[in-house]
């Protein structure tokens, strides 16, 4: 869920940008490391970014009737890992702003923080956690994608609540207000995205094993 251009007060916009930058820089460093070993990986990284963008441009059937789209956060985090996703996500969000006027430049930092950092890290953590507890692939993917989505939406609500505390009840009231408004659209969407991601990962792990091994999603077969 993108916070639109100009919505956040300048101090907040700047603070969230400052919060997002270290993650993106760290991601860029790890990308630079990958590229040093294998310069051709540039193509693969660009492919992942473009794929993520196109994914976010697809429309999801939405309960509220408005057009919604998958964030792809969970899928991206599970496939490419959260540190690469910070950069890929930032690129996608920048392109969405410049190409579609969706989201914004001043709110880029806040959006990167919720969608390219918190969402993917939560998704990744949930995925690893459930897999570590020997949960099935489908269960792990579903909760990773769904909770990744929900984490993004909660983060966005926090960002807005911090910027616009309730006149009477302050931050707590505002957070309650915004989480409950957005819940109507975001909870069903998170479930749908969870289901969709399971379908996709299932199809991929059946038919694109070699690619997934290449992306280190599935550890290579032991000798």
């Amino acid at each position: 869920m993108h916070i639109m251009e100009g919505f956040l007060p300048p101090a907040h916009a700047a603070a969230w940008t400052a919060a997002a930058v270290p993650f993106v820089v760290a991601g860029s460093r790890s990308i630079a490391r990958i590229l040093k070993e294998n310069p051709q990986a540039k193509l693969l990284l660009a492919t992942s970014g473009a794929f993520a963008f196109v994914l976010s441009a697809l429309k999801l059937p939405s309960v509220t009737g408005s057009c919604s789209h998958p964030t792809g956060t969970g899928l991206g985090a599970v496939l490419f890992g959260p540190s690469v996703m910070a950069v890929a996500g930032a690129i996608v969000l920048l392109f969405q702003a410049l190409l579609l006027a969706h989201g914004g430049i001043t709110t880029l930092g806040a959006n990167v923080f919720s969608m390219a950092i918190v969402g993917p890290w939560i998704a990744y953590g949930v995925f690893r956690g459930i897999r570590g507890l020997r949960g099935s692939l489908a269960v792990a993917v579903f909760f990773a994608a769904m909770l990744g989505d929900l984490a993004t939406y909660v983060t966005t609500s926090v960002q807005i609540a911090l910027a616009f505390p309730d006149p009477a009840s302050g931050f707590t009231g505002a957070l309650l207000k915004f989480t409950s408004i957005f819940a109507f659209t975001q909870i069903p969407l998170a479930i749908i995205e969870g289901l969709l991601t399971v379908i996709i990962i299932n199809l991929l792990s059946q038919y694109s094993r070699s690619e997934l091994v290449g992306l280190r999603f599935i550890p290579g077969e032991a000798k």
Binding site: E5, A32, G49
Partner: protein, 250 residues
Amino acid sequence: MLTSDGFAWTNRWHRHHPAEKGLLAGGMLVLAVTLPAPTTAPIIIAVMFVTTVLGAGIPAVTWLRLMALPSGFLITSVPFLALSLNFSSGLQVVFSPQGLEVALSVLLRSLAAVSCLTFLTLTTPTIDLVPLLRRVGVPPAVVEIMLLTYRLVFVFLERAATGHQAQIARQGYVGLRNTLRSLGLLVTSLFQRSLERSRRMEIGLTARGFQGELRVLAPKRSISRARVASAAGLLLGVAAAGLVLDATVR
């Protein structure tokens, strides 16, 4: 494919140096978020409408459509800024005049900021702005990845659109379950073809001497001093008008 991108490449100002347009849009954006919204924002919206529609020659309908895009976000969030939750005696929802003032000012500020972004989206190909990122310290490798990403976005979008059409022809996307299944199949095939494309592109680029670096030369474009001066003048004018008006109102 993407309407806004089509205009960015063909509008009256598409050959102008991106820095000129970046200065105008970026400057106005700064004014929009920093100056008092109730007085400055309407001026900015008017100025950006005039430059986009009369200056760059974008149809007014297109401008309006793009401006209306974030309205969903505004509708679901702005009214609630004017409502207040009070826990002191149970849960009470009350109207807050103070909140209404904030809500109106956020509404205006956002619309003014969006009008700046809309100008940039409709008049400047995104890819022209990316090289400017190198100046603010983004590593060259990341900039190269962005250049490539931009190109691939369109290749994949075209594939996604055609695939979607083909699925519709076979009665995909009828009902919720079918829609999820269709979408899952589309995304999966898109993923596979994307990886395939990246492998084939590596061959194609290797044939052109690719050894890891994606260096290109942009067509030569010069910055027009006259246009930079008028953009700066416009920014100063808007800032002054906004501030003066604000002082008068108070």
